[in-house]
Amino acid sequence: MNGLEVTGLRVRYGRGRRAHEAVRGVSLEVGPGETLALVGESGSGKTSVARVVAGLARPAEGTVAYEGTPLGPVRSRPAHVQRGIQMIFQDPRSSLNPRMRVGAIVAEAWSAHPGVAPPGDPAEAVAALLGDVGLDPGVAGRRPGALSGGQCQRVGIARALALRPRLLVCDEAVSALDVSVQAQILRLLIDLRAAHGLAMLFISHDLGVVRQIADRTAVMRDGELVEQGGTEEIFTAPRHPYTRELLGAALDLGAALDLGEGVTG
């Protein structure tokens, strides 16, 4: 195992009597090229796990290791780890600097990581990356405010890819998009995953999306991991009562149309 290893993770916010433990002893692994979905409702701790993995939050206990290297906060990480783990956020627009042009946003990280900066003309490299995520190279000269939500999410993905990551942490990366655009971004993530051998930690509350994209699925509730396993196994033979409750409550279009009855009733 040489991907991401999270062991006995605990995350606390606040101090003393007001402290809240958001993650209470979570262990999980994401193998090279593998996609693990982390599902759960609000307050389940799934986003806190993602933030620790991305180096944006500090664990109270437990360890996170990536390709054998133990990980601390993002600034303390060795350069190859910093660039190796990239995050895709839920709100594509607010995760991009509105004052910068798209080309500069994508190329920015190369100054911090000259090791992966492309030889030759950076503008050409930016154009190639924009092409990889399905954007017209002309977008490079525009600012995020002039783009649609789906285009902004593509820019966020291009920015991540610029650093040639091995692991993408996707935090509700398609949740805020219109349904017709969501399908585009899911397709793009799946294609890029195959082309670059990317591993993904895919945080989502949308079980339908998870079933389409994840190899394995872990279910969180109240800071604990209640069940994990192969995605099809979790969806067809859930063992934990909470997983069953979650799956039972999820609306399904096919079921609603075929049965006439609702799927929760």
Partner: protein
């Protein structure tokens, strides 16, 4: 029986450039008593503005034309007193964010009972009715909850309280704008079940706005699919979603990931939903449509009946109905 008949409704909003933008453009549909009509669409579709025009909560500077037939009168032409009575009392609304819609400084009981007090009901009677209303929407321990404030309620309970508030005046039509979108999956399921039960028990008519086809398939009888401020298609929800008569509806249905079965992400539509600010000529959907041809670029399709109860705004709906694929 037709309860609300929306005919040729248009809403213009002022834009930064000064020109008025038609965000709702000649929209027609009906809501029948005892029945739920779903209004579905993506960003810029005009679904929320349509609901806001019905309840009379359009933003400042908006102008509205067309007809809103309600109980034998056109609300857009009626005198203001009649309009207020219809919209305060006969038509009630629940919103996506109950925290923004509820008054944070008043107890839940006071807010739910407001309309009853206005009717001059004695205090003891108001309390009784409020307790019954909270109980009916599944707020546990209503006798204790009645004295609490919105911040002491969880998201799901707040939404229930708002439903109780909306129903307190016994409206004939309930407008719901994405009422479960902000809720967790398990809470959403319970609130949707509550709305379905209310409808089954009391025949409460609803106009239900959502971007989520699963929610609409779950609660609605009829659906109106909107795109770029116009009706793309409308009809009985199961017929429309099972056998769409508009390529946009078909693409929407195909892009909903299944939970109960393994599916692969659908072949996505290109581009993004059209904005009313830059509505393409002809059929607004043509730049994204796999079936588009010359006529679609030139000529705006009118909404027409293709089968009893089924209306579509696609020039080539017959081909789609016959199973054509690009």
């Amino acid at each position: 029986m037709t309860l609300l008949d929306v005919r040729g409704l248009s809403v213009l909003l002022p834009s930064a450039s000064g020109a008025a933008v038609p965000v709702v453009d000649e929209v027609s549909f009906a809501v029948h008593s005892g029945s739920v009509t779903g209004l579905i669409g993506e960003s810029g579709s005009g679904k929320t503005m349509t609901a806001m025009a019905v309840i009379g909560l359009l933003p400042e500077g908006a102008s509205c034309s067309g007809e809103l037939w309600w109980a034998g009168e056109d609300l857009l032409a009626a005198d203001p007193a009649r309009r207020r009575r219809a919209r305060g009392r006969e038509i009630a609304m629940i919103f996506q964010d109950p925290l923004a819609a509820l008054n944070p400084s008043q107890t839940i009981g006071r807010q739910v009972g407001e309309i009853l007090r206005r009717d001059g009901l004695p205090r003891a009677r108001v309390r009784e009715r409020v307790l019954a209303a909270l109980e009916r929407v599944g707020v546990p321990d209503p006798a204790r909850r009645i004295g609490q404030y919105p911040h002491q309620f969880s998201g799901g309970l707040r939404q229930r309280a708002m439903i109780a508030l909306a129903l307190a005046g016994e409206p004939r039509l309930l407008l719901a704008d994405e009422p479960t979108t902000a809720l967790d999956v398990t809470v959403q399921a319970r609130v949707l079940d509550l709305l379905r039960r209310l409808r089954a028990e009391t025949g409460q008519a609803m106009l239900f706005v959502s971007h989520d086809l699963r929610v609409i398939a779950h609660v609605a009888d009829e659906v109106v699919v909107m795109y770029a401020g116009r009706v793309a298609e409308r009809g009985p929800v199961r017929q429309v979603f099972r056998a769409p008569h508009h390529p946009y509806t078909r693409a929407l249905v195909e892009s909903v990931p299944a939970v109960r079965a393994k599916s692969v992400p659908a072949e996505p539509l290109p581009g993004a939903p059209a904005s009313p600010l830059a509505r393409p000529a002809g059929c607004a959907f043509h730049p994204r449509c796999p079936l588009a041809r010359d006529r679609c670029r030139r000529e705006r399709p009118e909404v027409r009946a293709l089968a009893p109860g089924r209306h579509t705004a696609c020039h080539f709906a017959e081909e789609l109905a016959a199973g054509a694929r690009p």
